[in-house]
Symmetry: D2
Subunit: 149 residues, 4 copies
Amino acid sequence: MKDLVIRPLAASDSKEWRRLWTAYLEYYETSVPVEVYDVSFQRLLSDEAGEYQCLIAEIEGKPVGLAHFLYHRFMWTIEDTCYLMDLFADPEVRGKGVGRALIEAVHSAAKQDGVPSTYWATQEFNYKGRMLYDQVASRTPFIIYEKGD
Amino acid sequence: MKDLVIRPLAASDSKEWRRLWTAYLEYYETSVPVEVYDVSFQRLLSDEAGEYQCLIAEIEGKPVGLAHFLYHRFMWTIEDTCYLMDLFADPEVRGKGVGRALIEAVHSAAKQDGVPSTYWATQEFNYKGRMLYDQVASRTPFIIYEKGD
Amino acid sequence: MKDLVIRPLAASDSKEWRRLWTAYLEYYETSVPVEVYDVSFQRLLSDEAGEYQCLIAEIEGKPVGLAHFLYHRFMWTIEDTCYLMDLFADPEVRGKGVGRALIEAVHSAAKQDGVPSTYWATQEFNYKGRMLYDQVASRTPFIIYEKGD
Amino acid sequence: MKDLVIRPLAASDSKEWRRLWTAYLEYYETSVPVEVYDVSFQRLLSDEAGEYQCLIAEIEGKPVGLAHFLYHRFMWTIEDTCYLMDLFADPEVRGKGVGRALIEAVHSAAKQDGVPSTYWATQEFNYKGRMLYDQVASRTPFIIYEKGD
């Protein structure tokens, strides 16, 4: 898409980043406390190892999407792996390649950092997401179990 | 099980750890280069943030199982989350609670370290594993996509 | 949708029925011999017990979709059950409620015939179909195994 | 297994058939009214087209398992298909090949009757069943939706 730009998160994105992440969390019918917004935003900007990074998609200067990703150790290789945790595009720009561009940008950034592979989890019934993911990645046979408090 | 002990990996476990991890990797019909064994073993013993840790299950002093787990950031909480990557019990001790004890020990260790939740991935058709996981954890609706080289 | 009519298959539908069913089979990347078209068409019109029935969706007099369904015994109830095998709407009319109307019409016909429940199978990755099915029916935990020649 | 015999249901099996089918239904945490037992038993013995048939597995003369199967039309072929609806083996004879022998016997009977393919549905989490089914049949990508009353 012509006017689509993918760029790192900046401190000046605070308001738009909160808007986008809130919309993302609403998709999952969840919410997080204000404290999590504050701490997460600082961490995303910290540029430290072990912290998530954030890429922002913008169209004509307006943020319309985000991706949060993390490098972490992988037992089976010397190199780390890249976990793409949150991916979001504003509903009004859906179908314009924002999600695809964010995935590709995360994967490119990871490879430049020596991280060859990127993975993410999605709900089995996230049909719209999976239409895209089937095109740009491979579905693995893995499912996730969780042991909570 | 009476004589089952779960304890941290020690430098003296090198040989048995290699044997157990090899058996685990063979289950997945994969293998890793010698270099990965060497680097991974050092990392497991390093006790540094961002590295996997390893718990060994032993019966009557003989290592019979292992678990590799990692704490990493989680966007939705202040606390980290715990990823249990590799879990293995020798086939000859299956059904004696080794896998269950390792999962519980990882989860306990994580909670003591302020990490409330532990998750892992398994192949949809890992029936024997899932018989256990359904008892000790919750299946989520998440599946995994991977974007490789 | 205003001009959408659901009606039984008629002998005069031969050509359009072949067109629609071919398009359906192409979705599944399969084809059947001419003989199967001929025999199946006769069976659909035969009005005999144990044969599939066919409903045609038409818009402004033009056939744009079809449903093939069969009543068969069900061990767990006195009543038969209804198996909806083939469901198709022309791509150019998608999103206009043709699939939904066909499902509802099959289910209504079955109920009028004393068959309380209708079921169908779909590929796990038929995302567009499942967006509809999730609205009008319940996903069961059942998957299908097949033992061929 | 040496003493395992697969044979058609007989009128004299009434009591044992009820026992086995009840145990099967309990696995699915369901039950059916007495009337359904009576009507279903008559139908199984009727030898009429469109009715389920039943094979009984017995060891040393004692019924230990059953299979209910039905031939029905299949749109994509001239030949019918065979639906194996209920399959059960007494828990105390599990692992002795009763389930496998019943599946093979149903498939053989179907082929002798000109029905080339047999299919069945199972819950995604029926791990023990699927260990067997993966060996004797192919998992399809199909899942089942149901539209009830």
